[in-house]
Chain length 348, copies 2
Amino acid sequence: MGSSTDNLKGFVLALLSSGFVGASFIIKKKGLRRAAAASGVRAGVGGYSYLLEPLWWTGMITMIVGEVANFVAYAFAPAVLVTPLGALSIIVSAVLAHFILQEKLHALGILGCVMCIAGSVVIVIHAPQERAITSVQEIWNMATQTAFLLYVASVIVIVFVLVFHFAPLYGNSNVLIFTGICSLMGSLSVMSVKALGTSLKLTFEGTNQLIYPQTWYFMLVVVTCVITQMNYLNKALDTFNTAIVSPIYYVMFTTLTIVASVIMFKDWDGQGLGSIISEICGFVVVLSGTILLHVTKDFDRNASRSLYAPLSPTLTTRLCSGNGEMLKHVVEDAAYPEDACLRRQGLY
Amino acid sequence: MGSSTDNLKGFVLALLSSGFVGASFIIKKKGLRRAAAASGVRAGVGGYSYLLEPLWWTGMITMIVGEVANFVAYAFAPAVLVTPLGALSIIVSAVLAHFILQEKLHALGILGCVMCIAGSVVIVIHAPQERAITSVQEIWNMATQTAFLLYVASVIVIVFVLVFHFAPLYGNSNVLIFTGICSLMGSLSVMSVKALGTSLKLTFEGTNQLIYPQTWYFMLVVVTCVITQMNYLNKALDTFNTAIVSPIYYVMFTTLTIVASVIMFKDWDGQGLGSIISEICGFVVVLSGTILLHVTKDFDRNASRSLYAPLSPTLTTRLCSGNGEMLKHVVEDAAYPEDACLRRQGLY
């Protein structure tokens, strides 16, 4: 089993996936703009003219191709490698937006891109080798080891508490509730996606795994987790500004996925301490780059329209003060109604 | 020869050095403020009352201790390890300024600190082992190998061209001229400091190196290079804003020092490609963090006094357009005369 070539395949697929997903945002947004210009009715105010716009569908297809590549990448390389590389899609979309949509990238945004790349390189260099897996039962044994069952149990308990206690009370004022639910479910999604992807890979390679009930069980888990995750991600995007939701979601989701993968697949067993620390640093750098890119995304336009003030307080204050965010959201929406509508719909 | 404990000693000394140097800026600035408050005459307008202020002298001594620790660190660990850790002094001074001088750190500045730390950790993990050197002649042989002589020759030629052709024409309008001269000379300073430091270390360990002419020759080179470097650094600080000079100088100086060290001490020989790439990435991350910290240093105050506009253009444009910088400098100085005077004098 060429474990090292598998890692390479996973790496290339993750890169392709980031390229497609990043490009899809731009294509979709261009499609929405063109549709709005043609019909005079914006998506945000009830128009569905974008459904007739081929460019929007091209964007959708690009996104699906990207997500499939991502899914397949998980079958080849460890989640510790594939998940952080998702940050590169943000770079792709920022760079394309700069050139195609004329949304000028702030100098600090470029610095954010450089950091994401440097951090990703460190992660790739120190990524553990994917273990050779020969059947779905092996994955099943990993998924049912005590440590991972404890992780799953705690995730389920926390999600229940968030959904039934905190969401009704603070869901609309604190951005961490909905994004927390998606991130927790997301970590289980990725683990089950990886299990399913590996089973399908083995099936395609000739050893049919569909005869085992575990494969179907994993499929059920994938569907449940992905639907829950998407449902709460939409709620989060619907309630808060994308520029706030995206980095928080990315940070929590990626961190939890890595934790889950380290517990379930024992990615870090047999790795030197230096490698593990380097990987964590690389990850911290990618996260910082992503945050920088997101925070500076609206700098110029805010500065020029004297809306800079709400960005000044420390990040922590801003992220935790749901009400302040709502206010900022309202202020921003008042200033850019067209963007706000698209943003609310989660259309870009 | 415990090469690994030597690396550790160098690492600890570099950390101490950053702590002392970082703290010295804050102590000196506090001393200057107290002196100005006591006498009513500011240093920038000709007052020398700070020379009577014990706090200012404490700051000076702290700085000298820090620089000595840095000098000794070079005797124990490779320049590839010691030089980038200098960035930590910026973190120390930013954090202390936040708490002691109440100069609030911007949220992105905190992100810059996190990056500098993450990048430094990656560098430390992948730093090459210092080779055991037994006499100054060994260093002399390294300094006279063809590759390094070529490096020295090109540095000298470029410095001459910059000093005699470009400095008179563009020295006052383009920030890259003076900082370029300091950085080029700086890389030679560090190499000669390392040679001298190692000779002195060997002398203290019992094998007297002062009997060799090479030791004295290295001492001469140290003095020449450091004086030239300091002279042009003062010119740069005198002509341009510290917030512009510092990051450019740090980036160029550190990069050239690493290049010089890799050529002269062959730091990267025998290191795996992965280690070298990780080191470079760690270095890029530290540079990015430093730039971020410097660029965001004046964000809040600029935003609140509506001077934010000059910071908006891309970094490259700002760094390369000397005239624009001069203008910004003038505008800033008009707004904060007291800071500008101190800044001009290079007192902080």
